[in-house]
């Protein structure tokens, strides 16, 4: 294979992608690939848990992808991408040594750095929704190990072969974090839970009063997950969700990602559930 020439770095600015080189490519599931990337020149900017980059497949297009590695973690920045269209298919196929474009980081964060000590943090993720939470969970594991508060990870997937970050889930469990996994459809040999991800809530012994909950996944899952957490006693305003919309500019200029009063790329993707996302989820004219 011929070595790919590095695209010329553009002038600094939020609308100009910076070339990054793919240094590792890992298949997480049949349709999900994690790309580890490094800037072709210089160092990557810092980011916060839950933020996203606009990732360009040169000649094809650009999509919003949350970072799936932890901020400040050594090594390249990771993006886990699900193959759902032409751009993501091209990104998923990007070989090691190829180049992608990056704009960002953009958007709001999960805010786990500001969580009060002693508070339980519940992470509920569905499908690829675990990717934007992965970095946060890694730091929540460290937080728990230092005695600052417990973490509970509840992950749902379509089927056992669609469970993402299996090694991470096991490592988090070994580190003492409560990890629950459910699948919608079982398979031969699967001895875990079959059911919706909210079915994992009764088995998670977190203290709902004061708890912080972070949800990411399909919007329908977040709607039902948010309600179930509130029913369990979690304050709706301490439930945070990550919204997915048609992000294009990433800086709140173009309006493609508008959702009610929000420009999701600027005001999100992470927003509070109670008094905001719960009402937006119920709007029918969008």
């Amino acid at each position: 294979m011929l070595a790919e020439a590095a695209p010329r770095a553009g002038p600094a600015g939020p609308l100009v992608p910076t070339p990054y080189v793919v240094v590792e490519r890992r298949e997480e599931a049949a349709d999900v690939v994690t790309l580890s990337i490094e800037p072709a020149e210089g160092s990557a900017p810092t980011f916060r848990h839950g933020q996203f980059n606009m990732v360009t497949s040169f000649g094809r297009g650009e999509v919003a992808v949350s970072m799936s590695s932890a901020p400040g973690a050594p090594g390249p920045v990771e993006h886990s991408i699900r193959r759902v269209g032409a751009v993501t298919a091209a990104l998923c196929a990007a070989p090691v040594g190829s180049f992608v474009g990056i704009r960002g980081p953009f958007g709001s964060s999960w805010g786990v750095d500001d969580v009060e000590d002693g508070v339980d943090v519940v992470v509920m993720a569905g499908g690829i929704g675990l990717a934007p939470l992965r970095g946060a969970v890694r730091d929540l594991v460290v937080r728990q190990q230092s005695g600052r508060g417990r973490a509970f990870v509840l992950a749902g997937a379509r089927s056992p072969d669609q469970i993402l970050f299996d090694e991470d889930l096991r490592a988090w469990e070994r580190a003492g974090v409560h990890v629950g996994i459910s699948v919608d459809v079982g398979a031969p040999g699967w001895t875990g839970v079959v059911g919706v991800v909210t079915a994992l809530l009764p088995g998670a012994p977190f203290e709902a009063s004061g708890a912080l909950a972070l949800l990411c996944g399909p919007e329908i899952m977040m709607r039902f997950g948010g309600r179930a957490l509130v029913d369990r006693g979690v304050d709706a305003r301490r439930v945070r969700v990550s919204l997915e919309r048609n992000m294009q500019c990433g800086i709140g200029l173009c309006g493609h990602c508008q959702l009610g009063p929000l420009l999701v790329c600027r005001d999100g993707p992470v927003v509070r559930y109670g008094g905001l996302a719960d009402e937006l989820f119920m709007e029918r004219n969008r």
Binding site: T191, V196, A199, P202, G217
Partner: protein, 156 residues
């Protein structure tokens, strides 16, 4: 009266908030049972004469398909009731139930329970009210799964 069964029943989620006489009614003749992994609690088509109030372990609700073997429809755990088919005709289990791991449950005879609830409409209403909540929860969970929310996306 089986004290071990009564103790477990008094802390079971299905009976949470029930008056003591309701717990006593269920405990009458109830037994604590355990199942090794892989053992069937009941089989599809057999009379639904026992309801299991699970207190530990995981139970798979299965259906057997030709050339595919057992297909797990849902799993139940501590706090769940396995075997709801006693609540309505034809009083036969509609699925298989199999222990996934070591399962502990309180086995409740449903024929005497139905008779007792028929004789005491207030308790009968309490039970049917709670059963309706359980059935509604399972119906809603099933509907969500039918949406296959993890399977589709409009993203690029």
């Amino acid at each position: 009266m089986n004290e071990a069964a009564r103790s477990l029943l008094s802390g079971h989620a299905f009976l949470a908030g029930f008056p003591p006489e309701a717990v006593e009614l269920v405990a009458e003749g109830a037994q604590v049972v355990t199942f090794r992994p892989g053992v069937l609690l009941f089989r599809e088509g057999s009379p639904a004469d026992i309801a299991y109030l699970v207190t530990g372990g995981k139970v798979a609700i299965e259906v057997h398909a030709p050339n595919r073997g057992p297909i797990v429809v849902e799993t139940m755990g501590a706090g769940d009731v396995v075997g709801l088919s006693w609540a309505a005709p034809p009083f036969r289990y509609q699925f298989d139930a199999r222990a996934v791991d070591e399962v502990e449950a309180v086995a409740v005879g449903t024929a005497p329970l139905r008779l007792a609830l028929a004789e005491n409409p207030i308790l009968g209403f309490l039970f049917l009210d709670r059963l309706a909540a359980v059935i509604l929860g399972r119906l809603q969970a099933t509907r969500i799964r039918l949406l296959d929310v993890y399977g589709t996306s409009d993203a690029g």
